[in-house]
């Protein structure tokens, strides 16, 4: 199988598993316990906290561990500025869009971008509250200029939360300089373990707890800390801090080659959000005449794992809400397929995808694709 669905979940990096191993064998201890086993666990958690903080550009004590980005998003949307209005991007992940009722939607442009001017215009004359805008979109990979948007939000008297689940490790994050008060992170999207994430919360920001019970995480979050998971998350972040830029360049080149070949060889094919700044590993595209489900099934038979958009929504015959927010016509949106590359992706994987796509859709010859790849 060739796995090209890293935005759904990226396999665990060997470096992360290596760091977790001691905590699965000899070492154990509840990080909340006062005895030595507990202190060792707490020390490991704090080291991971520092590794994550370094990659996210925040202070270690601003990292609060959660079970993942879904919990972090729900917590932020529910717990920040309780009672005040909530403004969220229309292309946000469902963990934001479904978190609380009564959200007011901020529309992106045709590229999926929310510009500072568009945000200012849509917030004008509205009461202040909480704004949530994703750092990078999970389907299109389109990035928002969070720092510029935070300035608009602040001017409006509101505070900004950003879902950075897909952005961490793929594009530089600078929480400290970003102006947002909270950031949602996920470990498994970047090759860390499943079941762990974090909410980065700026010092002094009040938040209502989502889970109650116990005095963990400075009394802000309840539940025994997932020590191996947190250690693995930290190790994956440390590795990306060292090699993330090179990995992003490598994946970005493969992605760009794929898109050039696709657009050259499949007449009428489109790439969504291509004019915008995007995550280097993501391509959301459509081949005319092909419904995404049919294309994905054919690719699946050829051993290629891609998605029609958010894994959480796959299998439905409803077009991507992200593309609808970008005002992509219904027929085109129903054909959208997401390619997302990651640390296990090899050069040959993308060539194999192109060959398969071509043979399935009859858009040309496999050799021609290979030629473009070579060039």
């Amino acid at each position: 199988m060739i796995y090209l669905d890293h935005n759904a979940s990226s396999p665990l990096r060997p470096e992360a598993f290596l760091a977790m191993q001691p905590w699965m064998t000899a070492q154990h201890g509840n990080a909340q316990s006062v005895h030595r086993a507990g202190r060792l666990a707490r020390h490991a958690v704090d080291e991971a906290r520092a590794q994550i903080a370094a990659l996210a550009g925040c202070r270690p004590d601003e990292v609060i561990f959660t079970s993942g980005a879904t919990e972090a998003d729900n917590w932020a949307l529910r717990g920040l500025r309780s009672g005040a209005p909530r403004y969220v991007g229309a292309a946000e992940h469902d963990a934001v869009l479904q978190a609380v009722p009564g959200l007011r939607l901020i529309r992106p442009d045709a590229n999926g971008v929310i510009s500072p001017a568009a945000l200012a215009q849509q917030l004008e004359d509205q009461p202040p509250g909480l704004v949530s805008l994703m750092w990078a979109n999970n389907e299109t990979g389109v990035c928002n200029d969070i720092t510029a948007l935070a300035a608009v939000v602040s001017e409006h008297g509101s505070v900004l939360h950003s879902d950075a689940a897909q952005a961490l490790g793929r594009v530089p994050l600078d929480f400290a300089g970003s102006g947002c008060v909270a950031l949602s992170l996920s470990a498994h999207k970047l090759g860390g373990p499943l079941g762990v994430g974090a909410l980065i919360l700026r010092e002094g920001t009040a938040i209502e707890p989502l889970l109650r019970g116990g005095q963990h995480e400075g009394r802000r979050h309840a539940g025994t800390l997932n020590v191996p998971g947190i250690v693995g998350f930290g190790a994956a972040c440390a590795q990306l801090a060292a090699t993330g830029a090179a990995e992003a360049r490598r994946l970005g080149q493969m992605r760009d080659q794929f898109e050039r070949a696709l657009l050259a060889q499949c007449p009428g094919a489109q790439v969504f959000g291509q004019q915008a700044l995007r995550l280097p590993n993501t391509s959301f595209f459509a081949v005319p005449g092909w419904h995404s489900e049919a294309l994905l099934m054919a690719l699946d038979r050829d051993g290629l794992a891609l998605a029609s958009g958010s894994a959480c929504h796959s299998g439905s015959d409803v077009p991507s809400h992200v593309l609808r927010a970008m005002e992509v016509p219904m027929q085109t949106a129903l054909g959208a397929v997401r390619l997302s590359l990651g640390h296990t992706t090899q050069e040959g994987d993308v060539a194999a995808l192109l060959a398969a796509l071509l043979s399935i859709t009859g858009g040309g010859g496999a050799g021609r694709f290979a030629g473009v790849m070579g060039g």
Partner: protein, 384 residues
Amino acid sequence: MIYLDHAATTPLRPEARAVLAEFAAADGPFANPASQHAAGRAMARRIEEARERLAALLGAEPADILWTSGATEANNLAILGRARFAASLGRGLVVPRTEHKAVIDPVRHLAGQGRQVQWLDPAHGAYGICTADDFAARLTGETILACAMAVNNETGQCQDVAAIAGVCAEHGVPLHVDAAQALGKVPLTVDPGVGSMSLSAHKLGGPTGIGALYLRSRPRVGVEPLQFGGGQERGLRSGTLASMNILAFVAAAEAACAERETAMARLASLREATWQRLTGGIAGLIRNGTATHSSPHILNISVPGVHGDALRALLGEVCLSSGSACSSAQAESSYVLRALGHSDDLANASLRLSFGHSTDDAEVTRAVDIIIEAVRVLRERAVP
């Protein structure tokens, strides 16, 4: 280091480690089980099979098992989610004061929002547990939820969940059971009347960060989700499923349940021997719990005449706890022990020894010697 704090967290069982190693291997399985491609479908099948296996251990329907990040989340979902869902049905909750913090704190929050909480005080000498009669006296037509933990996390004393569930069923009230300390330790099934039950993997040799909520669908116990998003777990608990943790959890749970009778017989005799040696070596030692009607993995003792912090400071290599790990970071003596009539000082001078699958007799013997010696030193110092 001698680890006698299995009620706080346990080392991984080999069965769980094997699952994690399988998943972490270079050619190991991965994929989001919500994905439609072959890898995602294969993962989804393994998750559903794990659900069936866990349900079988409890005598539950597989569809009634929801994966959560642990027992804390499961308790919060069962309590806060229930109260939000049932807001129009009634405002009452019936809850013993001796429940775990992950039950007490959400219930307190609801009380602060105007819900009518009937707090039950366990009878003197009951070691933190309440009876079916205690519940029967407080259940009304307004009650939307009652809570009863199966095994008290501090004393190990067992609450008679079957009888309490029976009383709740008569009143049409769903009973929520916190079974974090119970699965694999004491017989556990979802009795009629149990509406929900929370489970934790890391208390039985599974990984941290994973647990489950049994939530009855027939007759249905309605809850409102705590987190929304991708609509996983029948829309009741959104978030990407932690596949490797789920499978490791179930592997550990099966191993714990398969060896339960022999393992608990071993721990019961180890615990009684430990108690005999401790009480033989420490004059006036108090046992907080009974030899019967308690889970064999917990021994809770109070040492009169010494300062608790000074005692623990002398135990160095012996990892044990003064009570629940979740409250041990705060300097607050145990409610469960104070309810026994212990003074704050005596409650603070209490030790919880908790055993598990990796505990061996020799290390317990060494720990007992260290405890006896520490008490001797402290008591000598106290003599003017």
